[in-house]
Symmetry: C2
DNA sequence: CTGCGTGCAAATGGTTTGCATCCAC
DNA sequence: GTGGATGCAAACCATTTGCACGCAG
């Protein structure tokens, strides 16, 4: 991590814990779920702080903020671009473990956009929701 | 369109207009923008009706609801899966005009998910925002 | 010490919903 | 005529923000 990326940033216990917890899990929790996770360690943390730190961390590229089809945003402790599987019923997001070739976009075809990053997401019904047969 | 797909559904002027306006544009408007567009034709339409109809239409697969990284959802009059370009600064979404091979996911690798659809989105900075040099 | 980060709570803003009325079928 | 669709406004809920205090550097 380059040091001047962190100019003025302090490492509070809250920020440290949020990042550690997010990296610990393989799921892609919502801000609320992160709040619950972290609250077991720092019971007095506030939801606002969780939001502020998730914002901070994702703006630095340390974690990934997943847009997603649902209302809530989800966060990914692994900042590298990798395909996701999203359940259109319950909204959960899994990492795809299978190595996939990401599509390449020729620069001349980028319609004037710059700094393109490719997001690939497969949307379907997860095994749990399929089992519920709703 | 199969007839039993529409059992009980009525074609109100509002629904008809919303769909027509959405198909007319090449952009991917938010619900609010659709509201503005339709209001020029039906001044007394309510925002709630726009939301209800966008929900209705996307649940039938007639239009596409784009998840996206921003807060607001955007809607696409073209229900076929096609790659998008999203501006991370202003949030606008364009269609990619360039034919791209969508990644294929072997069924054995779908981790139990079913009915998978592939969404590809390139995230970057659009020419307008790049020009603003913010 | 300084001022960034926090806790708390109120404010925001997109989206949803209850209800009486309206109109497509 | 009947039930789905609408208009309106209040309700919801995830997220953001103002403020005074606390703590990392």
């Amino acid at each position: 991590m380059k040091s001047d990326e962190n100019k003025g940033a302090r490492l509070s216990r809250q920020r440290e814990t949020i990042l550690a917890e997010l990296r610990k899990v393989k799921t892609h929790p919502t801000a609320d779920e992160v709040y619950d996770m972290v609250r077991k360690i720092l019971p007095r943390i506030s939801l606002g702080t969780v939001y502020r730190n998730l914002d901070f961390l994702s703006s630095r590229g340390v974690v990934l903020r997943l847009g997603g089809a649902g209302t809530q945003k989800r966060f990914d402790g692994n900042p590298a671009a990798h395909p996701h599987l999203r359940c259109s019923v319950c909204g959960r997001v899994d990492d795809l473990e299978y190595p996939l070739d990401l599509p390449e976009l020729p620069v001349e075809q980028s319609m004037g956009y710059s700094s393109l990053r490719c997001d690939v997401e497969f949307v379907g019904v997860c095994p749990i929701c399929a089992g519920k047969d709703c």
